[in-house]
Symmetry: C2
Subunit: 297 residues, 2 copies
């Protein structure tokens, strides 16, 4: 049984201007995550810009990363698409390429109803046989899962986990409690929104789906392992240490900041897919200052 827990590290997907993924650069970005012992690689997540890449490119990236990891880190692959039939094909591709599980968002253009999203998950899970993590990210998909809908989908065969945005620390225990009541026992409940995730882990969340973990895995793992060991003080200390990064993420968006960090750290020089622009020179300098000041391994 696939069990997503701990640190799921979400790398960028380096590519050229026409959407061709640079597998050498991707390998350079992914290597430190495997070496650090990330529990899973969140390949082609929102940080990996999955909807901007073709089916063929996504298949190439998954195959390369599965081979590179060779079982050391699980590979959770983004399989979201606007059309249900396309999401089925992406899930089938991910399974054939050896991905551990698929991360499925409710990508929308026409706003979707709860029943439409439920059917979407049912068809993708049923027709692919790939274990599925529900991806709740209203800031990109503009669909908001209720705990009741998460509960309905969580009972479908093959659906194993949920990744939602972590609420403010004061609200996370109640949020987690509400979700736990909606899903089957043993279902993995994890969080993104990096700056709130230390508290989400301390409150009992299973997994941190982490943007910073996709570029600074060692310091992210310090937080995760401390929380898993019941050492909240250490988890909070490292989270506080990262506050300058959280400020950058909130001001400039985590995606644009980690592209700049990858360049500053010498991992790759790729830019985000257009229309997304790289940071301005001023903002890039602020990122460089934080990278120089902190020990971001």
């Amino acid at each position: 049984m696939t069990n997503l827990s701990g640190l799921s590290a979400f790398p960028i997907t380096p590519s050229d201007a026409s959407g061709r993924i640079d597998l050498d650069a991707l390998s350079a970005v992914v290597a430190p995550l495997i070496a650090a012992g990330a529990d899973s690689i969140g390949l082609l997540g929102s940080t990996g810009s999955y909807p901007y890449f073709s089916r063929e490119e996504r298949r190439r990236a998954i195959e390369a990363t599965v081979a590179q990891s060779s079982g050391k880190s699980a590979v959770l692959a983004g399989i979201g698409a606007l059309r249900t039939d396309d999401a089925v094909k992406l899930a089938q591709d991910a399974r054939a390429a050896g991905a551990t599980a698929g991360l499925l968002a409710a990508v929308s253009y026409t706003p979707l109803t709860d029943d439409e999203v439920f059917e979407h998950f049912k068809i993708v899970a049923g027709e692919s046989g790939l274990p599925i993590c529900i991806y709740d990210n209203p800031s990109t998909t503009h669909f908001r899962f209720t705990p009741a809908l998460v509960g309905r989908i969580a009972k479908l065969p093959g659906v194993i986990a949920v990744k939602g945005g972590a609420p403010e620390p004061s609200a996370v225990a109640a949020h987690l409690d509400e979700l736990r009541k909606a899903v089957p026992a043993g279902f993995s409940v994890g969080y993104s929104a990096d700056w709130n995730c230390a508290e989400a882990l301390i409150a009992g969340g299973n997994t941190w789906y982490s943007v910073i973990g996709g570029i600074c895995p060692r310091i992210s793992l310090r937080i995760v392992r401390a929380a898993q060991n019941g050492d909240a003080a250490t988890a909070r200390r490292w989270n506080d240490y990262l506050e300058p990064v959280w400020q950058l993420f909130r001001q400039y968006s985590s995606l644009r900041v980690v592209y700049a960090m990858a360049e500053i750290k010498g991992l790759c020089t790729a830019q985000p897919p257009r229309p997304i622009l790289p940071l301005s020179a001023d903002a890039r300098q602020k990122v460089a200052d934080v990278v120089a000041k902190l020990d971001l391994a």
Copy 2:
């Protein structure tokens, strides 16, 4: 000089479950719009589910509709895409296929900045040579244009019009005034959100980008021609007549309702692209009741 004004009628794009457009069914849907004298066909708009179709399918639909119209109605073709390079290709295809203009939305996954959207429009307009209508539809794209940004983009060569959601009748005159101050003289300012569009035309809007116009063009043209002739009372009377339709649109979404109307009127039996589901039997019956009660030509 291309001049979008009057009724732009937005048909659905009938297709099979795998996203292949049914050109015979599309022709059946489009024929009454041309026959009624719609000023333009808003092909592959949001009602036409453009982001759910491949580049090849979109090209086929534009070629067929341009041939069918043979100059009687202008063809405004949706060219929106998540990637800038893809939107450029779609705009080039639309121009090669003989479209009059392209309707370009700020399609987003990663939330976009104003500068990113500006560059997107600049590149698509510049590299395609296709006249461009700015498509402001935050309910689907999740990007909101300010009047200042519309003004910046409107000054780019080749950008000729803007289509925005019509505000409530009490607010439309001020909204139109603010936009007129931001854009060059003669720039076409038009509206969607059908139930508010009669008042938007009466207030001086150039164009009604109309969902109901894509299936009931004659009654829609009564409203447009009355407003153009300064006969606000007649425009309002026909708008009031359509109130039962507006109620259906608001309750079930215009897209799902017009799919049901196309089936009830015998035009085609296509369903929306999955994950979007057709209306429930109960809701379809409410649509059938309105179609039976009103004279919706």
